[in-house]
Amino acid sequence: DQNGVEIKKFKRFEAYKRDNQFPPKVRDMGIVIDQKNATVVLPVMGRPVPFHINTIKNASKSDEGEWSFLRINFLSPGQGVGRKDDQPFEDATAHFVRSLTFRSTDGDRYTEIANQISNLKRESVKKEQEKKDMED
């Protein structure tokens, strides 16, 4: 850029290319972790909506009475975390989905999903780091 600082190029990632790649389980209109494609599919008004693991910051579970809540936080500007090259933060006009919260009476399931998302995130960060080390 004009300051002579090298801008790291945003690496494009893609969850799916075609809609027949969704895991069959999306039929249940529940949260589906797709390990193979490093993607979390979230049900939004009857539609399966993929979010690549690279967009996810973390997932946490909490309880309130008979309900359990699963909150998925995404990487977005102004959080002071996340590497700049993960997302096209240079597009100053972009809107971001920052978080999504679901509830269920099956708390064990949300503990399991939160763990799976954490593991998927850890693996993906590790893989990225290995790729970077290879490039250097």
Partner: protein
């Protein structure tokens, strides 16, 4: 073309129970498999219609002239031609094939249409939120908008929700969506927040 076209295992407005959907020249009807009150729609109330991938097969989303939305899902991919033809011939409406973004990105543009908020990723919708499903919106922080959904008491009724009882789609599945937060940059924040309340 037959005078009536029938489709089985169709869900109305994300109902738990499937039913039969019947199209005729005058309009369409849906009836839950276990019986009960049928839902009917006059053909001339239909403004536009969209075809896209849903959780349960494919979905027809109908925008009515009064700006409300009717969702029918559970169709098969191969039903498209038959349905596109009947929408054109009987309701003078194009069944537009709307492909959704599958990139898996969480950034794009939130746009406010007649009946719903659409989150577009590279000019393709990633998801839509009908305004009727929103119970509250607020500015949760600088550039942050929280949208809360009507999930009721969670004891979802069986059968169809019907076009008359909105505010149940967020809790239709086994995971009920209760809140979504957006980051909206710059000075448009207040305006966008008000738009979400519409």
């Amino acid at each position: 073309m037959a005078a009536i076209e029938n489709f089985e295992n169709i869900y109305l407005d994300l109902s738990k129970e499937g039913g039969k959907c019947r199209f005729a020249e005058s309009g369409l009807g849906w009836k839950p498999t276990s019986g009960g009150e049928p839902f009917t729609l006059q053909g001339n109330d239909i403004s536009t219609a969209q075809w896209s991938r849903a959780a349960r097969g494919y979905e027809i989303k109908i925008l009515l002239r009064n700006s409300s939305i009717v969702q029918l899902d559970g169709f098969q991919l191969e039903d498209f031609e038959r349905l596109a033809k009947l929408f054109k011939n009987w309701y003078s409406a194009t069944l537009e094939n709307k492909e959704h973004s599958l990139r898996g990105w969480n950034w794009g543009k939130a746009e406010f249409g007649k009946a719903e908020l659409t989150f577009n990723v590279q000019n393709r919708p990633a998801f839509e939120i009908p305004y009727s499903e929103i119970s509250n919106t607020n500015l949760a922080g600088r550039n942050e908008i929280a949208v809360e959904f009507a999930v009721g008491d969670g004891k979802t009724t069986n059968g169809h929700n019907g076009a008359s009882s909105k505010g149940k789609k967020a809790s239709a599945g086994k995971d009920q969506m209760v809140e979504m937060r957006f980051y909206i940059p710059g000075t448009t924040t207040r305006k966008e927040a008000e738009g979400g309340d519409a």
